[in-house]
């Protein structure tokens, strides 16, 4: 049920966006294809940033007790904010490549 509802909602709002984009804003369908490729590349960069953040975080968390005698659990890396921030990093990096 949840899965079906997600697909229905995304389908409806995407169809509305398609109608607004092509008719109201006079955007071309090929432009949407380019935007989707850009999205996929952004996701790729976001995944890379997430991997790097987790790796670096693990090294820091394991090294910290030796330097400060303060224990930090590896589980702090499970905070979902890390995924969100990594996504921001990935998409910002992707857009930066277009701007310069």
């Amino acid at each position: 049920m949840t899965t079906a509802l997600i697909f229905i909602l995304v389908g409806l709002t995407s169809s509305a966006a398609w109608a607004v984009g092509t008719r109201g804003l006079r955007r071309s369908p090929s432009g949407l294809c380019l935007a989707l490729v850009c999205l996929i590349e952004g996701v790729g960069f976001a995944a890379a940033f997430l991997g790097l953040n987790l790796l670096l975080g693990f090294v820091i968390v394991r090294t910290l007790p030796a330097l400060t005698e303060r224990f930090v659990s590896v589980y702090v890396l499970e905070d979902s904010m890390l995924v969100i921030v990594s996504a921001f990093q990935g998409f910002a990096f992707r857009w930066w490549l277009d701007r310069d």
């Binding site: 996701v43 790729g44 960069f45 995944a47 490549l97």
Partner: protein, 206 residues
């Protein structure tokens, strides 16, 4: 830049594909079922409720409560004469083991049957502390209570310090996760535990 974008595109496709398969198919459930250690409560010298977390307001985390309740149930069933309550101590006045011990006493477990272990940070720390607490009593058979994903690593880690281990698990998420977000969380738990097991093997802890 072109090469970088091609790599990002390939990684993006792979990520989205993995996300779709994980969220919208039962693959995480199948993987979790394979990773699960069977629940095997048996009589032992001591029941060990492994630590999870205590929140800043002094309440036990959901995992901590689940492990504590299962361990107390097993004690009430007469599976062991001792109840070892492990706990984290994240700050002044916050002691998961002591909060659990107070709760156990209120539920009728005699104070003499309770051992609390504080200040343990990792599964390895807990295994060492439990072995040290049981050694003077000549006891080495333990029934460890933990969550399903953690159980295999727990067994190997406790065996590594010379204990005979049985594991009682909490939760059966392999069958319960049926919505996309629960499946994603299940996949993350499987991946995290697989990495933890690899690390423990590499470090010689398990």
């Amino acid at each position: 830049v072109r090469h970088l974008l091609l790599v990002a595109r390939a990684l993006g496709f792979a990520t989205l594909g993995l996300l779709a398969v994980t969220a919208f198919t039962p693959l995480p459930n199948v993987v979790a079922r394979r990773l699960m250690t069977p629940d095997s409560p048996m009589p032992a010298d001591a029941i060990v409720a492994l630590a999870a977390a205590i929140l800043r307001d002094g309440t036990l985390s959901d995992d901590s409560i689940r492990r504590f309740v299962r361990a107390t149930e097993l004690y009430a069933d007469g599976l062991a004469p001792l109840l070892i309550l492990s706990g984290t101590t994240p700050g002044p006045g916050l002691d998961e083991g002591e909060v659990r011990a107070a709760l156990a006493r209120r539920l009728g477990v005699p104070a003499a049957a309770i051992i609390t272990l504080g200040g343990t940070h990792t599964t390895r720390d807990e295994a060492v502390a439990v072995a040290a607490a049981l050694r003077p009593r000549g006891a080495r058979h333990v029934l460890v209570v933990t969550d399903w994903a953690h159980a295999a690593r727990v067994r190997a880690t406790f065996e590594q310090v010379g204990l005979e281990v049985r594991v009682a698990v909490t939760g059966q998420p392999a069958d319960a996760a049926v919505t996309p977000d629960r499946r994603l969380w299940l996949a993350w738990e499987c991946a995290r535990e697989a990495l933890a097991r690899a690390y423990y093997r590499l470090a010689g802890f398990a």
